[in-house]
Every structure is written in C-alpha cells, then in structure tokens.
C-alpha cells in the first residue's frame, strides 16, 4: 500500500480571493477613474437632448429658457404629454413649445394641445405629424444659411436676420390666414403661422437658431424670445418615449401580464444555471504524451501516386516485370540468377503460350496507353497463375498419363500455341 503526501490542488475560497484581489481592485480603481472623469466633463460634453431647456451643452436651449425666465416668463419644463396637459390645466393661457426630437407625437395629440392652449409653437414637425394636424403644410427639405425677415409676424420682424439651418415648409393647399416667413427660395419657408379656433399655431423649422450655440448670433435671440415670450407662462414640452401612445390596437407589451418579462429573464438565468451545472469540470485533465501514428505503407502509397502523376507506365511495368520474372524463375526451377531468356523459354515450355507473345509481355512491349499497361499487367499475373497451376497439375499427375491441360483463359493472347504436354528441353 502506498501512501502519498496529501496536497489539495484546488485553491480555497480565501486563497482565490487573495489571488484575485489585485485585479479586482485594479478594475474598481479603473471604474472610479472613469466615473470621476465623466462627472468632471459632463458639462462640456455635447450630450443631452437637443433643444432641451435643461441642457447646457451646445445643442441644448438652456440659455434661451434662462433668458425667458429672467424676462419674467414662467418656463415650465414638461417631460411628457401628461405633464404638459397638467401644466396647461393649471395655466390655461400659457404658450406651448413642442420639441419632438423623437418624432413620437401624432396629429391628434397636437390637435388636443392646440385646443387647450392659446399659442402652440411646434419645432420642426415631421410630415406624418403635419398630415394629421395641418395637412395644408408639408415639409420641404433641409434649409441652410442666413435668412432675411420678409413678413409682418412680430417675431420675424424683430429679428431681421435669422440663422435658417433646419427644416423648411411649404403650403401645399389653401390655408386661410396663413403667414409664411423666412423664405429660402422656391417657396420654401421656415416659419408658418396661422390661426385655428381661438388660438395661434406657429410651425418653425429653424432648429439651430434656438440652440445655446447659435442663439446669440444674428437675430436668433429676438426671434426666439418674441415667439416664446408672447405669454407670461410658457410650457416647454419635450416629448419622451412614453408619449408614443398608439390609439389603435393594444401592443403585445400591453397585453402580456407584468410577470412575463420576469419569467423570460428567469428562463435566461436557468440557461446560465444549466451552463454552470454542466460546465464545471470534474477536476483537471491528466496529460499524456501520445505517439505519432505512422503507417509503414505510406511510402508505398506515395510512390504509387508519384508513378501515376508522372504517367511513368514503362517504369511501373518494368518494376512489375522484374518481380514477376524473379518469381517465375523460381517457379520454373531456374533459380534467382536465371537470365530473362531462360525464363521466357521456361514459361513457354510450361504453359505452351506463343514464345513471341511471352517475350513481348515479359520484356519487349512498351506500353503507350493505360489500356496496354493494364493488359500486360494482367498477362503477367496470368503467367504466374498458369505456371503455378501447370506445376501443381503436373506434380499431381506424375503417376497418370499427362493429360492435355485446359487452355488457360487469357484476355486475348495472340494465338497461343497448342498446348503440347511433355515438350521439354
């Protein structure tokens, strides 16, 4: 019985914690650094929603909101449709500025907002929104450059020059009392204002003019302040994804109960558990050096393919002939050192084949086609078989009279001489 010192290979929990503590702490420090950098550079980044009153970045509109506040306008930031309606109920005379970056609102929702408010300013609405809300107005592509004031809308008149970067609109149908301003050529206007019911609707496409970055250029500030500052209260409504209310059939998300998503998550966790169960190996493998497996006949196969690729018929045939001749020499009782002529004579005598043909097969014929090679190779086998058969019959029939041997079946030998038993040297 052998006893070995016991050494546990698997590390203990404490050991593995100690071993991994360096890397875990490195990752933690790295995360902390990333977090700190993110906090420090947050204000300078271009992140945050465009035209948001809470975004101090270049594409935000915090500057505009702050100036409006300082001018005595109460700016309410509504982050959802529900919040916007709530704010409107509190201050029914407020203007509403709709910033729909996500494009989630539909015409009917804009309609409701318009009904409740005195002045609705819609920033860069899309085609399908306008189709439901004001089908006479349609987007007319992008606009760039500085536009001159060209109408009597007070905001535009006050601005005189406006940064036009954004979207342009065009009236595609008769719309009574519509004012079109900020022409950028070919009838494309960046501002359309019209009255509906007892309220005023302004559709404006100059997004750049309202951003922190460009609000101070040209007459952008005047345009924005005049448009949004018409009332003492302004509801700055920024759409969110929850406003994407679909009035038609309920979605699959609304139909499924709340726990289904949890159950799906659980299914994923079950698969993870399955991987943990099956993936844990039962101890390390034991190494073993295995020998290479080389078949000895590989060289023979390789040489055969070389013969075949280089179509060396004569060389192959000569090899076969040498082998056959040495075997035939032994069979004919001539010994290994017999000459070819002796073997030819011996085969002819024993089998009774035509000597010329035997010599051709054993020595002379040069194979020009594959078929010839095959034929000669078959004849060589036939010789060996016939000689062996002849010898066995002759030894068996030494006592009886030598019967004429049956003519061997050969694949087309050129007129074998009639077998003449007993004919010898």
């Amino acid at each position: 019985m052998t006893t070995a010192a016991q050494e546990v290979v698997t590390p203990t929990v404490r050991a593995s914690v100690r071993r991994s503590i360096f890397w875990v702490s490195m990752v933690a420090v790295g995360l902390l650094i990333v977090l700190a950098l993110a906090l420090l550079t947050r204000g300078a980044s271009a992140g945050g929603a465009a035209l948001s009153p809470a975004n101090p970045g270049p594409n935000g509109s915090m500057a505009l909101a702050e100036v409006l506040r300082s001018q005595g306008v109460t700016v309410t930031h509504a982050a959802s449709l529900v919040a916007a309606h709530g704010a409107l109920e509190e201050t029914p005379t407020a203007s509403v500025f709709v910033v729909d970056n996500l494009g989630v609102l539909v015409g009917s929702q804009l309609e409701r907002l318009q009904h409740e408010s005195d002045h609705l300013v819609i920033m860069a609405p899309a085609y399908d929104q306008l189709e439901g809300f004001a089908p006479e107005v349609a987007p007319a592509g992008g606009v760039e450059g500085v536009l001159d004031a060209d109408c009597d809308v007070p905001a535009v008149a006050a601005a005189t020059r406006v940064t036009g970067d954004g979207v342009g609109y065009r009236l595609i149908d008769e719309l009574s009392g519509a004012m079109e301003c900020l022409d950028s050529g070919a009838g494309v206007k960046s501002l359309v204002q019209f009255e509906r019911g007892d309220g005023l609707v302004t559709i404006i496409g100059t997004q750049a003019a309202f951003t922190n970055e460009q609000v101070a250029l040209n007459g952008n500030a005047a345009l924005a302040l005049w448009l949004l500052g018409t009332s003492d209260e302004l509801i700055w409504y920024e759409t969110s994804i929850v406003d994407a209310a679909v009035p038609g059939a309920p979605t699959i998300g609304e139909l499924t109960p709340a726990w289904v998503s949890a159950a799906i998550l659980l299914l994923g966790l079950t698969i993870v558990a399955l991987a943990l169960w099956k993936g844990r190996r039962f101890g390390p493998l034991v190494m073993e050096n295995l020998p290479v497996t080389v078949r000895a006949s590989e060289t023979m196969e390789g040489r055969a393919r070389l013969y075949q690729r280089s179509i060396s018929r004569l060389h192959s045939l000569d090899t076969l002939r040498v082998g056959a001749i040495s075997r035939l020499a032994v069979l004919c009782g001539l010994g290994r050192s017999a000459t070819v002529d002796e073997v030819v004579a011996g085969v002819t005598n024993l089998t009774g084949f035509d000597e010329h043909w035997v010599r051709g097969v054993l020595v002379d014929t040069v194979p020009h086609t594959d078929a010839q090679l095959m034929t000669i190779s078959d004849s060589l086998i036939e010789f060996e078989r016939s000689v062996a058969a002849r010898l066995s019959t002759s030894t068996a029939e030494t006592t009886t009279a030598a019967a004429p041997p049956a003519a061997p079946a050969i694949p087309a030998p050129p007129t074998p001489a009639p077998p003449t038993p007993g004919q010898g040297e």
Binding site: M1, V8, A262, L269, F282, P291, S297, Y307
Partner: protein
C-alpha cells in the same frame, strides 16, 4: 463549488411564484431564496479537504488485461460525506468507471475500486483525485482536487506465448534424438540407452554393448543418445530508432520486435542457452544480461515496458562493440530491425561483416502484409500503379536480404503475427543443425 441538476430545476421552478404573485420583483425574491439555499447547502456539505486517501496499486499489468486498483478514502471530518469521486488516470490507462458515488460517514473508511484496461504499453499514471461533496439538499457541492500520484507499469502483451508450447515440443524432440541427422558440431553426447527398434544402427555403441553383458543371457544393444549443445549464447539487439515507430497492421515495429525477443528468450532459456538483450538507438535504452529462467522473462518485459521508439537513426557502428561487451564467445546475434531500402540499410550492411566473422547473425524484419496484398491486386489503373510501387518495395527488401545473405547473415521476414514464430523456428533449425 459545483451545482447539481436540481439547482437548475430550482431556478426554473421560480416561474411558479413569479406567475402566482404576478409581479416583477418576485424574480429578485426568488433569486435571494436560491442564494440562501445554495449558501446553506454549501455550509452544511462535508469538506472534501478533510478526506485522506491511500492507493493500493498493482505494480504491473500486461497490456490488454484488466487489473483492479483500490483507493481507500478516509473521512477525517465530522460530517457524513455524500458525493461523487473521480480517480484521474491518463486516458490510455482505460480507467473505468471514471465517476463513482461516494458515501462515507464521519471517521470511517471506504474502498473505491477502479478497473484499468490499458491500451498502451509503458508507465500509466494517475495524478489526482477529485471529490465533489454535496450538501444535504443536493443542490450545490464543494469540490476539491487532491494530488495523489500513482502509476502502473504496463508490460508488453507477449501474445506470441501461444506459440511457445509447440516450439518447446519441437525442442524436446531434438533432445535425446539418436538420429545422425542432428549430429554435428553443436551436439554433445548425452547418455547410453538400450536399443529400440527404429534407432539408427550407426549410433550403436559397440564397446558399451560388449561391456554390458546381460547375465540372463542374450545380448542387449546399447545406443548413444545426443542432445543439442547447451550453454550457447543468444544476443538479441532491438532497434528502437525511428524506423521502429512505423506501424504495420496496426502494431509498431518495435512491439513486434519485443514479441519476437520474448518468444526467443523464453525458448532459448528453456533450451539452456544464455540470453542477453539490448535495446539500442544511440544509447542503450535497455539491457538484460545474465538472467535465466523466469527471471529473464520478467526482467525483459520490465525493461521493454517504458521503451518507445526515438526519432533518431540507429548507430550501427556501435553495435559490434555492444555485442562484444555482452559476450566474446560465438553467439547467435539476432538483429530486430527493418530492412526497407538499400539506402537506409547501409549502416547495417557496413557492420555486418564484423559480426558475421565471429557470430551467427540473424536479421529479423517485419514485412507489411498490405504491400504483398497490393502487389497482387491489379483491378484498375490506380491499383496497377500501386502494385508497381509495392513490387518496388518488395524488390528493395529482396535486394537488402540478398546483400545480408551475401555477407554471411541470415534474414527472417514475416507479417507482425508471423515473425515471432518464424524467428523461433529459425533458432530451432540452427540449434538442430548445431550451428550455434
């Protein structure tokens, strides 16, 4: 740490409370419950580190035989350990079963049996034991791998021992034969016995007959009997170079050489000859000298067991010196190598004269039955070319064989299963002819 299938089922079961409560937070509650159960199970599981192991291994086993190994596992801890155990052997040790259930009460010992059926010769090692100890709930397990080395030497199979009885019978026939046919240099006078009908009349010892006058009257003839000479020397040199690594009919050449050497060794030591064996490539990989009887065979198989062919050429120039270091007397030198091509056998041919000058040399080489088969099969063009290549290989072997014979050696070739008896037969023939 490891988990069982029940753990997966437990996780999946969480769908029931989640559906019943119908809230998403139930998922977190369920995960908490699972964590608690797993922690409890792990805490309550017996520690696999508190086990103590002892191995009981047989020292050696013949290839392709099955041997039983025992692992004694003592539970030094205070809790009953239930779980599974893996005794980690190398793949070619053929350990079975590879996973075994384990149930050891505290402070008790159990024997775990593993059967080994090795598929390769040499030293087969076990390195460690892995134990997975499940908690009472069988949800989670503690797992530890404990280093516990062990090894079993796998000996050559000696399949050719089935030929031994018939060859020994042939050897006994040589013994005590009176026939003049076997009288030669290598035979020596054994004893006198009474003439029986059939004895060669030329072996009648007339003087002994005259001396032995039957008192009852009548003359009994006495004949001399002869037996083959004993105490001859047989030196077997096995080539462990690169050509011995090639496989013929699924068996490396070196294994066939081992089989031949074992059969010849068994036979020659029974016949009273001294058998030495050298396994050599560029250094001596194994050497048996001065062993007789059963000890010879056991030493031979033990020496052969770990030897694998090296990827180097045999240094033939050193072989005569090696043989001289074994014996200076005339001996039968059996060279178990390969004679494939004239170029590769140049080393052998160059030292052969030195050996044949003072010894009887027999070169034993394996031939490939595939090659012989290929040279006869010529059904299509591919096979004709293959037959030509096979014929070329056979002619090469024939040329080297002729060269060896010309230099005074003898050649035995055969397929892997035919070579060992062929070598034994040649030995018997040499012995009968008194040429040892």
């Amino acid at each position: 740490m490891a988990f069982s299938g029940w753990f997966v089922a437990l996780v999946a079961l969480g769908v029931v409370p989640i559906a019943l409560v119908g809230e998403e937070w139930m998922l977190l509650v369920w995960l908490g419950v699972i964590a608690l159960i797993v922690a409890l199970d792990l805490v309550l599981a017996a520690s696999p580190r508190r086990l103590h192991f002892e191995r009981d291994l047989p020292a050696r086993v013949r290839l392709s035989e099955t041997v039983e190994t025992t692992l004694y596992v003592t539970n030094d801890g205070r809790r009953r350990l239930k779980g599974r155990l893996r005794d980690a052997w190398q793949p070619s040790a053929g350990a079975r079963p590879s996973r075994q259930p384990l149930d050891i009460p505290a402070a008790e010992r159990r024997a775990i049996t593993t059967w080994l059926t090795p598929v390769r010769r040499g030293e087969r090692r076990a390195e460690h034991v892995t134990v997975r100890s499940f908690g009472p709930l069988r949800i989670a397990a503690r797992q530890a791998t404990i280093r516990l080395a062990g090894s079993v030497t796998v000996l050559p199979p000696f399949h050719s021992r089935k030929h031994l009885p018939s060859r020994l019978a042939r050897l006994r026939e040589l013994d005590g034969r009176t026939s003049v046919m076997i009288r030669g240099q290598g035979t020596e006078f054994d004893s006198l016995r009474e003439y029986v009908r059939g004895d060669d009349v030329r072996s009648i010892d007339w003087r002994a007959t005259a001396r032995r006058l039957d008192p009852a009257g009548g003359q009994k003839l006495v004949v001399r009997t002869w037996r083959p000479e004993r105490d001859r020397r047989v030196v077997i040199v096995i080539d462990s170079g690169r050509t011995s690594a090639a496989r013929i009919a699924g068996e490396p050449r070196i294994d066939t050489a081992f089989e031949s050497a074992l059969l010849l060794g068994a036979l020659a030591s029974r016949a009273g000859d001294h058998v030495s064996m050298i396994i050599y490539d560029r250094r001596v990989r194994g050497r048996i000298q001065g062993a007789v009887g059963a000890e010879l065979l056991s030493r031979m198989v033990n020496t052969m067991a770990p030897v694998e062919p090296e990827l180097i050429e045999l240094d033939w120039a050193a072989v005569p010196g090696l043989v001289r270091s074994v014996t200076t007397q005339r001996a039968l030198v059996v060279l178990a190598t390969s004679i494939d091509a004239p170029g590769a056998s140049r080393g052998l041919l160059s030292v052969l004269p030195q050996l044949t000058r003072s010894h009887e040399v027999l070169v034993a080489s394996v031939t490939d039955p595939d090659v012989l088969e290929a040279s006869r099969s010529r059904r299509d063009l591919d096979e004709v070319y293959r037959a030509a290549a096979a014929e070329r290989a056979l002619l090469d072997v024939a040329r080297v064989s002729a060269a060896v014979r010309q230099l005074g050696g003898d050649v035995v070739t055969g397929a892997p299963e035919d070579l060992p008896p062929a070598v034994a037969d040649r030995y018997i023939a040499l012995k009968a002819a008194g040429r040892l």
